[in-house]
């Protein structure tokens, strides 16, 4: 998107960092790609070097450290991130909220930007710590519907992805 | 040029020795003898204050550093020559070996105690930390390019403000027990020693708190360092150590320690022994008269100080 102009309807703003960690990002156009490429490459490099994968909390700490370093550099990245994953050892799900200032918070549900104001109120009401995946997908659908209804932007659909610890499944692709 | 071809002069010989370091030790072993003796660990020194000038060292404990001050010519002005140096208010040192190298180390020790410690924590480094920092400087000279090892061994004596572990076999309550004593009023069971306290007493450790009291260290040109109760370095180190082994006792008061130091020095000294040819530094109770001011609550004078010519001569007459 460039101002009011839609340039692409199928832009995927998620990355697989390893077999059990996923990252979603938003922010300044060039920065998001540069930064997520860098993170993706380094997390994968770690897996190759050590024949083991970083857990979600280790990935989150690494990303935060890189973003915090960038924050006090001459030209910081302007990227907001959500990091999700299932810890391969404890099999517990993790979600991290990370903004461009490198504030990292473990959260049960999260959103960035304007979407926060709509999504968080829905999630505050409907989210419980013990909901299953199906209910989670329903909540995401509710959020997407709400954004469609309230925001003066056509998002050209949404991508929702899940992790069951082993591999990622992409659910709904781009909808027209 | 200098930075392109700058390699360490200290390289291994085929037999696995670093002969440059051995040569540095040879330089030390030709140097004038210095010695250090640690006195009895005081039990209530923290509360002891400086009393009167005539009674300077009564009932105090600590460490003595002593060395011979040799002058090659009668024309030299002895008081301007100094081998015992103050590093921090509670730490001092003396050397055997090459004088100029020692002066560099004194400068570096004084500087590092501020840059690496006082300017960060607003307190002076504990003795072991200072010793480690000086030892690092000496070790770096054995591995860096374009330099030679320092031709000195050091004796570092210092006092650390901290708690002292209870003496083994004693039921004395030192500063380490103070906390439990204070709770006595509320818990009404002051005499019961906890398991943790018993363990600490046995191990001689303090459980995460700085171990206080006096300590005496030797640092060698290689950068290795050792804690001692009493030791000697330099030309007559071996005979002096044998002498010290005979004379040293665990309950030496500092007065006695100075006495033993002078006796040891007497065995090795060649010329006359007087206030000009003997130099002594001591770690004792705070020397508030050296503070330069008085009447400030909580202000404490330096624990390390050099004995004056007159004080040394007093001890020599009693020898």
């Amino acid at each position: 998107m460039r101002g009011a102009t839609i340039l692409k309807a199928t832009d995927n703003k998620t990355r697989d960092l390893n077999s059990h960690t996923l990252m979603a990002f938003s922010g300044e156009a060039g920065d998001t790609i540069q930064f997520s490429d860098y993170i993706e490459a380094n997390v994968k490099l770690y897996s190759m070097r050590n024949s083991t994968e970083l857990g979600p909390s280790a990935v989150a700490s690494f990303v935060r450290a890189e973003l915090a370093r960038s924050l006090r550099s001459r030209n910081p990245y302007n990227v907001n991130l959500l990091l999700g994953g299932v810890d391969p050892i404890s099999q517990k799900p993790h979600l991290y909220w990370l903004d461009y200032l490198a504030s990292l918070a473990p959260v049960p549900y999260a959103a960035h930007g304007y979407a926060q104001y709509y999504c968080l109120s829905i999630l505050d009401k409907h989210h419980h710590p013990d909901i299953d995946l199906e209910k989670g997908m329903q909540l995401l659908q509710m959020c997407a519907d709400e954004l469609k209804r309230r925001m003066p932007i056509d998002f050209k659909g949404a991508i929702a992805r899940e992790s069951r610890g082993q591999e990622w499944h992409t659910f709904s692709g781009s909808r027209q | 040029m200098a930075d392109r071809y700058s390699f360490s002069l200290t390289t291994f010989s085929p037999s696995g020795k670093l002969v440059q370091i051995e040569y540095a030790l040879n330089a030390v072993n030709q140097g004038v003898t210095s010695l250090g003796i640690k006195g009895k660990r005081p039990s209530s020194l923290a509360t002891l204050s400086f009393q009167s000038k005539s009674n300077l060292l009564s009932a105090t404990n600590g460490i003595v550093l002593a060395t011979e001050k040799k002058s090659s010519s009668p024309l030299i002005d002895p008081p301007s020559l100094s081998k015992v140096s103050l590093i921090t208010p509670n730490i001092g040192m003396v050397y055997s070996g090459m004088g100029p190298d020692y002066r560099i180390l004194v400068d570096k020790a004084r500087k590092v105690s501020h840059t690496a410690y006082k300017r960060i924590y607003n307190e002076y480094p504990p003795t072991r930390i200072l010793v480690q920092d000086v030892a690092r400087v000496m070790q770096e000279a054995t591995q860096s390019g374009g330099v030679r090892p320092y031709g000195v061994s050091l004796l570092v004596a210092g006092w650390d403000e901290g708690i002292e572990p209870p003496l083994e076999g004693h039921d004395e309550t030192g500063a380490g027990r103070k906390k439990t004593e204070e709770t006595a009023a509320t818990t009404a069971s002051p005499e019961i020693e906890t398991d943790a306290e018993q363990k600490l007493r046995k191990s001689g450790k303090t459980g995460g708190v700085l171990k206080g009291g006096p300590s005496l260290w030797q640092v060698d040109p290689s950068g290795s360092f050792f804690p001692w109760k009493a030791t000697a370095i330099g030309k007559s180190a071996a005979s002096a150590k044998t002498f010290l082994e005979k004379r040293y006792r665990d309950d030496l008061e500092i007065e006695d320690a100075i006495h033993v130091a002078l006796l040891t020095l007497k065995e090795t000294i060649e010329g006359e022994m007087n206030g000009d040819t003997v130099e002594i530094g001591i770690v004792g109770s705070p020397a508030d008269h050296l503070l330069g001011y008085e009447g400030v609550e909580g202000a404490q004078g330096p624990r390390f100080r050099k004995l004056s010519k007159e004080e040394i001569e007093d001890y020599l007459t009693n020898l």
């Binding site: 504030s103 999260a110 926060q116 | 960060i120 995460g208 700085l210």
Partner: protein, 198 residues
């Protein structure tokens, strides 16, 4: 981002903070502690910019871990205070946007100790209480009203909790639960105050 505070009692200190993480008026998380432990009885509270709270707490974890290895002992609260001060002043012309609070008991002397700092490391020593963060003004009021000398541990807990909760209830940008630490000679008690979640 809201506020740690700490108060002194008889042979004990307390340090407490709320749990909110927010962007202006938007609450992002209600489980974001701002008190960090650097020794058996040394605590640091950090308020200000969330990213700097994390960066600074990580920095001190690194510094204090190295201190403990080098010195083979735990850092005292006074030494910690000077370390915080010098570390913050190193960034005099590009500061971390934090207002730290140190609380602890000195294990050599047995004395409780608290102090606060501005963002460039000027230390504010106090005999009674230190407050920091968005509700600092309110906390001054509640602490002035509730604090008294020589509080015993249980009363200290009650005082700090009521002071904190009363203050954050008067501040829209703070609250959402709180952590309270009571530091006594040989014991540290951590309590969670659930607080209002609205």
């Amino acid at each position: 981002m809201a506020n740690p505070m700490s108060i002194i009692g008889k042979n004990a200190v307390a340090i407490a903070c709320d749990l909110r993480l927010g962007l202006q008026a938007l609450t992002v998380s209600n489980d974001f502690p701002k008190i960090f432990q650097y020794g058996p009885d040394v605590f640091l509270g950090l308020t200000g910019l969330a990213t700097d709270v994390q960066t600074v707490s990580d920095l001190f974890r690194y510094k204090v871990n190295l201190y403990r290895l080098r010195e083979e002992r735990d850092i005292s609260p006074q030494t910690m205070a000077n370390l915080v001060s010098t570390s913050l002043y190193e960034k005099r012309f590009g500061p971390f946007f934090v207002n730290p609070v140190v609380a602890g008991i000195n294990r050599t002397t047995g004395e409780p100790f608290i102090c606060g700092f501005d963002s460039i490391g000027c230390i504010d020593f106090a005999k009674d209480f230190i407050v920091s963060g968005t509700s600092a003004d309110q906390l001054f009021g509640t602490c002035e009203a509730l604090w008294q000398p020589d509080l015993e541990a249980e009363d200290l807990f009650e005082t700090i909790s009521q002071a904190l909760l009363s203050a954050v209830d008067r501040d829209a940008l703070a609250g959402w639960g709180a952590h309270v630490y009571i530091v006594e000679k040989d014991k540290v008690t951590k309590r969670l105050l659930k607080g209002r979640q609205d």
